[in-house]
Symmetry: C2
Subunit: 322 residues, 2 copies
């Protein structure tokens, strides 16, 4: 056991907007000032549902217009009993069998429905291939393991139609949690693994033990506080540190696909990405880390800085189709 050390006292500061960033990125850092919202008590399910609806409205305001402009065809279908969106980019070749399985974000409590659809459309734009996106069940009505069950069910269905090398899996934020957890569970259940994994500013540690949960608290202007209430609602009494809830704590020496990780330097989840990168590399897994200078959680809403890293993701995926 290490002895307990005193914390580091950091005085109050005024942190300027870096002038070397793009005007769009500067505007994100300079204008968004979110209040620390109180999360509902765990047993007030109606309040959680209301909070999810409000979150969804904000998400759609932010990404809806960009998604609406993407030339693609969206189909809503049921896959293995799970509602899902299947998005084909316009002009896709009829014999193109590549599929990106996109797990939507939203703090494990929101982001379904139209938000799921919009995120799937944007994933299609980024990756240039067909996207499948499960509109998975969520708390308060369906806590863990419902969401993960749904994601695994859709992955199983994909495996019946595709070779594993034709499938990549990814997600942003809470979607990164479920994407990594689905791969760990698929592996434990003896399923073949996808060609590559994409984890964007991923919520890989529901215990929030990483350093950036403190160093970037108040510095990240998008994630302005702990997500622990949502994590507890999701876990519903299950161990937050179990690898299916916090994939960071998985055993990657037993196999994990090539993985690309992204985050921002102001990101509350910076440590999640950095620690997962190290954990994968320590297990000998091919893994890349790409950070966006100055970015809060989720990046700069499509600024050039984001696009550079999205291009890295696409290059990474394209290198691993098999």
């Amino acid at each position: 056991m290490a002895e307990a050390h005193p914390p580091l006292d950091v005085p109050s500061r005024s942190i300027p907007v870096p002038s070397h960033l793009s005007p769009q990125a500067q505007a994100v850092l300079g204008t968004i000032r979110l209040p620390r919202t109180e999360r509902p008590p765990l047993d007030d399910h109606e309040a959680w549902r209301r909070s999810a609806r409000e979150g969804d409205e904000t998400t759609l305001e932010l990404i809806g217009p960009r998604a609406a402009a993407v030339p693609c065809r969206v189909e809503q279908r049921e896959v293995a009993g799970v509602p899902a969106f299947v998005v084909d980019p316009d002009g896709i070749a009829p014999d193109d069998r590549r599929v990106f399985l996109d797990i939507h974000g939203g703090g494990l409590t929101s982001g379904g429905g139209d938000g799921c659809r919009a995120m799937a459309v944007l994933a299609t734009l980024r990756n240039g291939v067909r996207t499948w996106s499960p509109d998975y069940r969520m708390p308060p009505d369906h806590p863990y393991p419902a969401a993960l069950d749904d994601c695994v069910a859709v992955y199983r269905d994909l495996l019946e139609r595709h070779r594993p090398g034709e499938i990549t899996v990814g997600g942003v934020s809470a979607g990164g949690n479920l994407a990594a957890a689905l791969v760990l569970r698929a592996r434990d259940e003896g399923l073949p693994l996808p060609a590559a994994v994409v984890l964007g500013t991923p919520e890989l540690d529901l215990t929030e033990s990483g350093d950036s949960f403190h160093t970037n608290l108040g510095v990240d202007n998008i994630l302005v506080g702990s997500l622990m209430p949502a994590n507890l609602l999701y876990a519903a009494g299950h161990d937050l540190a179990h690898p299916y809830l916090s994939p960071l704590f998985g055993d990657f020496s037993r196999g994990f696909p090539p993985t690309i990780l992204t985050a921002g330097t102001r990101d509350l989840f910076l440590s999640n990405a950095v620690r997962m990168h190290r954990a994968l590399r320590a297990a000998g897994v091919e893994a890349e880390l790409h950070l966006i200078e100055g970015a809060p959680h989720g990046g700069f809403f499509g600024a050039p800085e984001d696009l550079e890293v999205e291009l890295e993701v696409r290059r990474f995926i394209d290198r691993h189709w098999d």
Copy 2:
């Protein structure tokens, strides 16, 4: 031009020592509390010399014992008029022609002599190959471009004895500045480039424009303030933003070797590493970024977290010998 945005006000905080780190890393974060030292006025050369001597004593206290335990043979010789250390690891094969050209750190104002020797010995231990390390001239007596001239002279000498593929170049902190600048200048002078470059928590931007110069101010407990006085002393009136002084602003589309970058998430130089990674990748250069969770500038003085990343560096170098 982007409009000016207001800064972000971050209240004072107590940042705990992450309990998931090794005991040695926790001790670094929990016990080192350096005062913000006043740098001397630029024209008080005697005070700068005294400050460099004090810095050297601290460096030797910190790394001297580790360096003394490394089984190796150190030779002091003059290379192209520059005093240099040549370090052979014990047991090196007589026909092993690989050389790591190590540029020492020390804020561009200190780290010469016994410090240079100790850093070269530790580089030999990390990389497992012969190390050459120029004991380059420094301000106040020899400002820019003396140090860079010395590094380039030694590189030119190496090129007369070795194929470029047998040479890798690297440095930590200010050594990362000079290592990258030497490669840019070698390229501009039409010299062949080394097989790979290693930039450890590199001081690539003497203008200090990166976001982490603010976000990690007071969070990094090793670099506790701006290095601008030393940068100005070094530049001696030259443009701080010139790529030979701030290699971050170089044009990498005209060629740069494969490069591995490291830093800590609490590092004042985090943005230097992140931005250089992006700049190299944007120019199509092979580049990897590896971060140490929770680490201040320079890492954890040999904790397991450091060794993991040092192993990445060695793997990277070993992949590129040619």
